[in-house]
Point group: C2
């Protein structure tokens, strides 16, 4: 099996100021090609460290992908180190990248200066994949060593990495003879990871040879189960077998299962069901402060079904804009079944939608009490029910910091909503 | 100088399903102690890979922090590998961790079973730092090797890593004699990274010996400049010098500068100014779909000044809830100065606040036109102005994918808001 290493260069990574999102992105893309990433390493903007690391990686791995250390405010340390590593004697200007540099700077109203022009200059040992989203080109080096390693050097900006990876992938496919990894991801929400593990333990033990299961908990997506088969003989057969295995979990996990696929999430499933059923949605949020709305609108096409929402952070907004009766807040408090339901019905009426969801709770760190500690949330969903309006509400208690609580409240709200949608329960394969 | 390596174990990292947030978090904490992280590496849940990697790291680095590979659904591969690496002959049950396990399971209504009880069992070569947020203890190994390496093995769950790091830091401080890294971060918003670099080039060339500058662009925070001095003689003197250097940039960068500090962001600055001035804020969002509100409410204490907002995703919500006159949308369109200003004034009146900000634009990928391409946004801010209500609006054009556009629209909206706040401009040191 072809193995790869991903190396991310940048002092900003090592001081913890920037989180490395390039490595997981690149790993996902390589996986699609059937290439397994064996290691990911982050190193300093330092010629010695770069040389030592890349020398080791190219001796061991067929594909080495490096990001960072390139760009107009850097000293182009990476480029120089790669020149040394590959025994380059001179440089050349890549005309294709130079044209892109001209265009990009012109569109930003910046004139071409030395430091930007130099970005089109690459070692003579490199071929180039043009970067259309930035000024630094992607350089490709055939290491001609015992491991027949190919090294791809990309800029560090994630948006540019994402723009380059399709061409990098094509290049890898051309150079290597690749098998295909078969995998499928099943998404569940509502069962804790360790409980889920117990429930599927039998099934896991009985998986066929070569089937590898990964548990992938995610604060918004829930617990994802990913079945992978490396070195499959026949892709279609293999995918059928994977799906057959997942089908066995439907009677076990019931409506905790909500979808399949790497790009699937509660919000994409909700969006898909509402759009295809031509139904509309509104949201009333208190403690989640806009997060539920932002998750829903993060999916392209949200305007097909999402009309909008009200962030009723202050109680007077609950009363004035959502028409939550003052006596309800006075009697039961803002964090109550009664208030959550009034908010859901209020926004549904105020905005005029088929469905609505409301959240009201205490994200923390302040605001908790003995009755209603930090992490308490009431969630209500309103839905069409045989010509009337149905309402469901539930209280949840989480035990975490503000950011995590807000995320969990929001994900749980999305899950309650999908459970009342047509076909929101138990996605059969 | 004491150097460290961070090793994160987990197949889910290598398949790109999970982004490594532990490494940057740990690096920030180590930096505070004056320890420089030299490398960060992610490896597979594989005994051989773990042994090889940790052997190399402990031979080279004084401090090695490892996360992952522990927990009730794992095979505890990391624990076994560490036992082998340290020549452990037996295991013992750590009573402190066992008590925590009991408590945690009881509070979740789960009974203690074999797999959870075993988590309190550690190699006899390990000492333990109790994990109060999860079942797996942090194990500490004195490697007794030539490099006098100390290895800390933590669970992989970020929330648990954050809970353990204070105790891990204390333990490191006790064992090592530590110098202090001096650093300060200045935050700017509104000037592109490469333009900023040109503007401060002179200043950068003239920085004193030992002063290291890092450019840290962030989609929400803007461009951060971080000055660091390693191996300082006197911490207070050094910090004074760093601040003096930053002061020289005030006449150069003007009101692009908005704050200082690692935890500072546009939303914390806005929150601080509004709270201390006892002013209130509301938000009207279209294309940003709740993101501006969620950024504001991500900061504890937001309820002191933030009343709420309206996500007017559909035009009828702009008309009905925000009272944007229908003729404005008909004549100028939703993405226009007139609509943005009407939304800002509308939400300010509907909710009743001193300040408001509104966004209306096209995040993409669909919805663009020749006049108003994807990435266009109008942002308006309404504010108290000598007894009347002032209004400012501006159009911006970005050129990115949906997620990035939404983020940039939101950050730019926060920046426009802070520029109209008292003392929102030019934070002098």
């Amino acid at each position: 099996m072809n193995k790869a290493a991903v190396c991310t260069i940048g002092d900003e990574l090592l001081i913890g100021q920037v989180t490395d999102t390039n490595s997981p992105y690149i790993a996902k893309e390589l996986n699609r090609l059937g290439i397994k990433v064996d290691t990911m390493v982050s190193i300093a903007d330092d010629t010695g460290a770069i040389l030592a690391c890349l020398k080791k990686l190219t001796e061991k791995y067929r594909i080495v992908i490096v990001t960072g250390g390139l760009g107009p405010t850097r000293d182009d340390i990476t480029k120089k180190a790669l020149g040394i590593l590959t025994g380059s004697g001179s440089t050349y200007i890549h005309q294709g990248q130079l044209s892109v540099i001209h265009e990009l700077l012109a569109s930003r109203g910046i004139s071409l200066e030395g430091k930007n022009h130099d970005q089109a200059s690459v070692p003579d040992t490199a071929s180039v994949i043009v970067n259309r989203r930035g000024t630094a080109p992607c350089m490709v080096f055939d290491m001609h060593g015992a491991s027949a390693s190919i090294l791809y050097s990309l800029p560090g900006v994630p948006y540019e990495v994402e723009g380059l990876m399709p061409d990098v992938s094509d290049d890898i496919v051309k150079r290597l003879r690749l098998g295909r990894i078969c995998h499928e991801t099943m998404l569940t929400f509502g069962i804790a990871e360790s409980t889920l593990a117990d429930m599927i333990e039998d099934w896991e033990q009985k998986l066929p040879e070569g089937f590898r299961l990964a548990y992938l908990p995610d604060p918004i997506k829930g617990v994802r189960l990913r079945l992978s088969v490396y070195d499959s003989e026949n892709y279609e057969d293999c995918m059928k077998k994977i799906r057959a295995e997942f089908s066995k979990l439907v009677p076990v996990l019931g409506n905790a299962i909500y979808g399949f696929g790497d790009e699937t999430s509660l919000q994409t499933v909700i969006g898909h069901i509402l759009s295809s059923n031509r139904k509309t949605l509104s949201v009333a949020e208190s403690c989640t402060g806009g997060t539920v709305s932002s998750l829903i609108t993060s999916v392209p096409g949200a305007s097909r079904f999402f009309y909008g929402g009200v962030v009723s952070y202050h109680n007077k907004v609950k009363a004035d804009t959502l028409n939550v009766p003052e006596h309800i807040i006075a009697r039961y408090g803002a964090v109550s079944r009664e208030c959550a339901e009034a908010m859901a019905l209020g926004v549904m009426k105020a905005i005029g939608t088929d469905y609505s969801v409301a959240t009201t709770g205490i994200a923390g760190p302040g605001g908790g009490s003995a009755d209603k500690p930090v992490g308490t949330v009431w969630i209500a969903v309103a839905f069409p029910d045989n010509g009337k309006t149905g309402i469901k509400s539930q209280c949840f208690r989480f035990n975490s910091d503000r950011t995590s609580n807000i995320r969990r409240f929001s994900a749980t709200a999305l899950n309650m909503l999908r459970l009342v949608l047509p076909a929101g329960q138990v996605q059969a394969l």
